[in-house]
Subunit: 340 residues, 2 copies
């Protein structure tokens, strides 16, 4: 193959982690956009907002008062999607199949400063968020009813975030969600066959090629995966084969924090706006097994395509067929790298 | 199980067609919404718009002039995501895997009347759209390079539709997209084991229960599947076991058109707005095989949740874990049924 083919012609790329495909249409990047424009709010927020239910010292909807926290603050979600105390039941009525699903949902405020986002925080400040993720993952892992912990952030109104205060969430539950289940299977099959980490081997290949790397430090690589779906999707991968975030020592936590800082800052510069995204950490289930086949990683799925107001819509074809992208991973890497 | 469990407690439901799960959180339906509101344009459009590139007699971006069509008009997409004449190539470079993908993309105008949507059209008018889908499916099926035909519609700006003129699309290609591949496998496994249609057997069960049926006529059922993801997701299923839309005779095409008319009209009444959605027809591949295991169906994925301006966001947890819904399928059915 000539690599130019991948920049010129419609093709599909294989996601080694999920076993699914993405349709790439590089020739289509120049089609005119006459559709919906998002509204952008580039107004600077105050450092404290009286009406914000996440700011320190304020009262939440359920009447609880937030402590006067100074760095990170974690609490149980007042409107949790998963209940921890519901009855256990199983439905198998012909082709109707359902199961009770219990869990614990938490909210994690990254900073008391209402005006900030991860992109505005120092690596040392972000390291405290990483420490909080580690503490929460450990605590939930020790709970026998919790077998998987999903850490994520929805940033920006366009990503369904209802409060601009810098915060993320943790939804933990008794079974593996769809996406995690796919990655579990793919990594397990590869590990059983090759006795090495799928993502580790992929990383080695990318470090050799240097075509999709945005940034690297001692412990981490930030890259756009070959099979990226969202226009500026990116992934942070630890160089060491680690199954979950607890395996990071404090130095590595700081290197990871630096990686988060670098990619979120580059994002903000790209379209000169506080860049919306959903990010999430995929890591080993907390089911008591060793899960040696897992190599944890963090992904960013940002919706913007051409400007602060024009996003990529994952609709008709994407919902019924496969995800589709116009700009290639290689073009996106170049744009982000230029902003470091 | 008590059915009340499914209305009260967090649980997951199994999608028999894809093999994936949806997380249902009925207790969460009442959480307050402080996030993004969509803008609604309920302004009546003119029947002809000089600036619309889909209206009859107007000039498209590539200089072509639309005929003065009087019912349905089909043309090849000027910005096709799939190229029909690109070289064929295969990438297998370690863990980088890609394949060329060729195809044909078409646009199909449902009516010359710029002001209308399917919800404003009569069943006889919609029947002409169905005839056009049949013609296009047949023509593409006869093309040896086309092995799958995805018919879909993106309706509304919030669904990435860039032109309000009533229209849908057809993307056809040489391999099966992800979602179709899943449904192909699930239906094939069931058919091999039971020698009957998975969806047909499911339909019989739903018709027996009458808990999730919105509407039925002689040939078709409109229902909310047990495993629905979107708040008001619905599915149209032919009662006969048919692999693709070519198996419909003209009477059945009219019954199908009536089903489309009923659900789209109910949608518009729900929040008193032109209801946005993506819809799509999943049917047998056009690979030359008999594909007896396929039972074609049409699904509607509408994003609105509580009003014309508040939609459900499929973001963080949904992207990294599983789709999640608050309102149950059974509650949604009641709301839609009341509007017939
Ligand atoms: O083809 P259109 O209407 O310009 O574009 C729309 O539908 C396509 C197919 O679902 C999507 O890929 C685009 O993101 C969306 O904006
Ligand atoms: O929990 P929040 O921030 O209120 O809600 C947001 O994130 C959730 C988890 O991704 C989604 O289910 C909601 O649709 C979204 O609006």
């Amino acid at each position: 193959m000539k690599n130019t083919d991948l920049q010129d012609y419609s093709h599909k790329r294989y996601n080694i982690l999920t076993g699914e495909w993405v349709l790439v249409s590089p020739h289509r990047a120049k089609r005119p956009w006459q559709g919906q424009n998002e509204t952008v709010n580039n107004e600077k927020r105050p450092t404290h907002d009286e009406t914000c239910y996440l700011c320190a010292g304020n009262t939440r909807i359920n009447g609880e008062i937030n402590p006067k926290y100074t760095d990170v603050f974690v609490f149980t979600n007042d409107f949790a999607a998963l209940q921890s105390d519901s009855p256990s039941f199983n439905v198998k009525d012909g082709l109707l199949v359902a199961e009770s699903e219990t869990g614990i949902c938490k909210v994690i405020c990254f900073s008391p400063d209402h005006s900030k986002s991860l992109a505005d925080m120092s690596a040392t400040e972000i390291q405290k968020v990483v420490f909080a993720w580690q503490r929460e993952y450990k605590e939930l892992a020790d709970n026998p009813k919790i077998n998987y912990v999903q850490i994520f952030e929805n940033k920006g109104a366009v990503m369904g975030c209802s409060n601009p205060h810098p915060h993320g969430q943790i939804w933990s539950q008794s079974t593996l969600p769809n996406e995690v289940d796919k990655k579990n299977t793919q990594q397990l099959n590869y590990f059983n066959k090759n006795n090495s980490s799928l993502l580790g081997d992929y990383l080695a290949q990318e470090l050799e090629k240097q075509e999709r790397i945005i940034f690297e430090n001692e412990g981490f690589v930030v890259l756009i995966p070959f099979w990226a779906v969202w226009p500026f999707e990116a992934m942070i991968v630890p160089k060491k084969h680690q199954a979950n975030i607890l395996e990071m020592n404090n130095d590595e936590a700081l290197q990871y924090a630096e990686a988060i800082s670098v990619i979120t800052k580059a994002y903000d510069k790209l379209f000169n706006t506080s860049f919306p995204y959903s990010s999430g950490i995929h890591q080993a289930p907390t089911d008591g097994n060793e899960n040696k086949h897992w190599h944890w990683h963090m992904s960013f799925y940002p919706p913007l395509l051409r400007s602060a107001t024009v996003k990529k819509f994952m609709v008709g074809y994407e919902m019924f067929g496969s995800p589709q992208r116009d700009i290639t991973a290689e073009t996106a890497v170049k744009m982000l790298r230029d902003l470091l």
